[in-house]
């Protein structure tokens, strides 16, 4: 509300649920709330007409003095909605100044003029402060700034950051770093890269959600409506692309026109990943068949969505490439075979295409209950990247309808 410039707004709350109940019950809820609607329309007056604290100068950041222990400082940060509950490294002026040495950009430069839903103004200094809190080092600054540039970019399709970070859907950011900088910064790309005890990956992931929740204000229950949430909402998933184990040799950014020497941050996002645990398939075709069936879990991806990315373990990738399957071949196979019958898809309501229902586009042709419905709109929406170490595991990240599509790629070196 405030971020849209409205100082106040009149609301009538209708108790959940409204979806997934019969028509008569919906109408009864309208009857029960009608008097409140009329009151809100004709009696309610705004509690205020201006928004306090808006449009102050963003640089330098306000300095706060606090007397207490480290634990008390952490509590103060949490109480002020300046942290997420996990411990932070205090963003002292000295620590922020050290962090700013990691970039040649001026601390006053505005990287993102309004990160939703709160519309926080993100300066280079604010990125440095948030990076300090997350445990990042000065040499990470160009990566952090490139991530913010990606987060703010309006995607060609899919939705902007606001959708990803405020929906009830269990979505979270996915950051993949590609290029020589992966090894230079010790960003993990092999065994366990997306999870345990990877200090650089985890610090960068913590930075992403600290920025989104503190400056961006995406916090439950108001700014973030995630029904249950998951750990990706507190430490975003970050990994390096494992180009050494990529049997096709071409990195994801190179496929999209970047050069192999380019350091690139890929910002994507979507629902919780689904693991593919296939130790048995010998022929690539068998493995692909399992992958297609992993993708078409209709509760995860529904139909005609914006695709997703397969994060292939090196062994699965190697097996797929072993008989000459190109990435293009794999995409086309998965697009044709990752399909589920229309009758098992989330249904339309009264024949109308409500959100969350599977609504085949008109050019798809006639649909019967047994018509096989694709997960995404075309083969190019299925991305492939190699990450991880030994093992026969891969992850499917559906972009759902909330992540950007195609994922946003930004160059790191411009932020050095």
């Amino acid at each position: 509300m405030e971020s849209f410039g409205a100082a106040d707004m009149s609301f009538v709350t209708v108790p959940h649920p409204l979806g997934m109940i019969p028509r008569d019950e919906v109408r009864a809820k309208a009857d029960a709330s009608f008097a409140d609607i009329v009151k809100a329309a004709t009696v309610w007056k705004p509690g205020r007409t201006t928004i306090p604290g808006a449009n102050k100068i963003p640089y330098p950041l306000e300095t706060v003095k606090f007397k207490g222990t480290y634990a008390q400082l952490n509590k103060m940060f949490y109480d002020n909605k300046w942290s997420l509950g996990l411990p932070i490294i205090p963003p002292t002026k000295e620590a922020v100044a050290r962090m700013l040495k990691g970039t040649s950009h001026k601390p006053s430069e505005i990287v993102w003029d309004a990160i939703p839903p709160r519309n926080g103004v993100v300066t280079v200094e604010l990125v440095a402060a948030t990076g300090v809190m997350a445990g990042c080092k000065p040499e990470h600054m160009p990566v952090l700034l490139a991530i913010v540039e990606g987060m703010k970019t309006t995607p060609k399709k899919g939705r902007e950051w606001r959708a990803l970070t405020t929906t009830t859907h269990h979505t979270a950011p996915l950051i993949i770093v590609s290029g020589p900088i992966v090894k230079e910064l010790d960003i993990a790309y092999g065994i366990g890269a997306m999870g345990p005890e990877m200090p650089v990956n985890n610090a960068i992931g913590y930075f992403v959600n600290l920025l989104g929740d503190v400056a961006g204000g995406s916090r439950p229950p108001d700014g973030d409506k995630t029904t249950q949430g998951w750990v990706g909402n507190i430490i975003a998933t970050v990994a390096g692309e494992n180009i050494d184990a990529n049997p096709w040799k071409e990195s994801w950014p190179v496929e999209r026109g970047f050069k192999p020497a380019d350091n690139v941050v890929i910002y994507a996002g979507g629902g919780m990943p689904v693991n593919q645990n296939d130790h048995a398939s010998v022929d690539p075709m068998d493995l692909l068949e399992v992958m297609a069936n992993t993708m078409n879990s209709v509760g995860i991806t529904r139909c005609f969505q914006d695709g997703g990315v397969w994060i292939l373990g090196p062994e699965h990738a190697s097996q797929l490439a072993s008989k000459g399957w190109s990435k293009k071949d794999i995409r086309e196979y998965l697009y044709k075979n990752a399909r589920a019958p229309f009758k098992v898809q989330p249904a339309m309501v009264d024949g109308k295409c409500a959100a969350t229902a599977c609504c085949p586009p008109a050019d798809f042709g006639p649909v019967t209950p047994d018509t096989l419905i694709p997960v995404c709109k075309n083969a190019d929406q299925i991305e492939l990247v190699v990450i991880g170490g030994p093992g026969k595991q891969s992850q499917w990240w559906s972009f759902t309808e909330f992540g950007p599509f195609p994922p946003i790629m930004t160059k790191v070196d411009k932020w050095k």
């Binding site: 222990t69 909605k81 939705r159 503190v214 409506k225």
Partner: protein
Amino acid sequence: MKKGRFTGLTVFMIIAAWLVMPAYASAKEAVQQWEVVNPAGVIKVTPIKMAPRIDSLEGKTIALKWNSKPNGNIYLDRVAELLKEKYPTANVVKIYELEPTTVPQSANQDDSNRKAKLIAKYKPDIVIGAQCD
């Protein structure tokens, strides 16, 4: 003798631990004067002028906006029926039927602005939106 040396070493270690541990603990828990920056920064807002309030629905144009979530349209359909019944002079406009592109969830701020302009075409005195999920 061995026992004596062991006992002496143990006593030394206990004393050392007694001397060191409190200092370590107090360093961790020491009250300090911190000077930190506020990581929330400031917010950018383009204030909008709020529409004048109305005190009656009689004779007013009332726009109904649906956000595509299941059953929100059924809810608004019923609200429209009630409005017409109780306020027969009101002009009830179902934006979701007249301007279907306003129904899907916005992809970005520009998309929201586009929808706002479409709704404004009908010059509503008030907009009732079903932001359901």
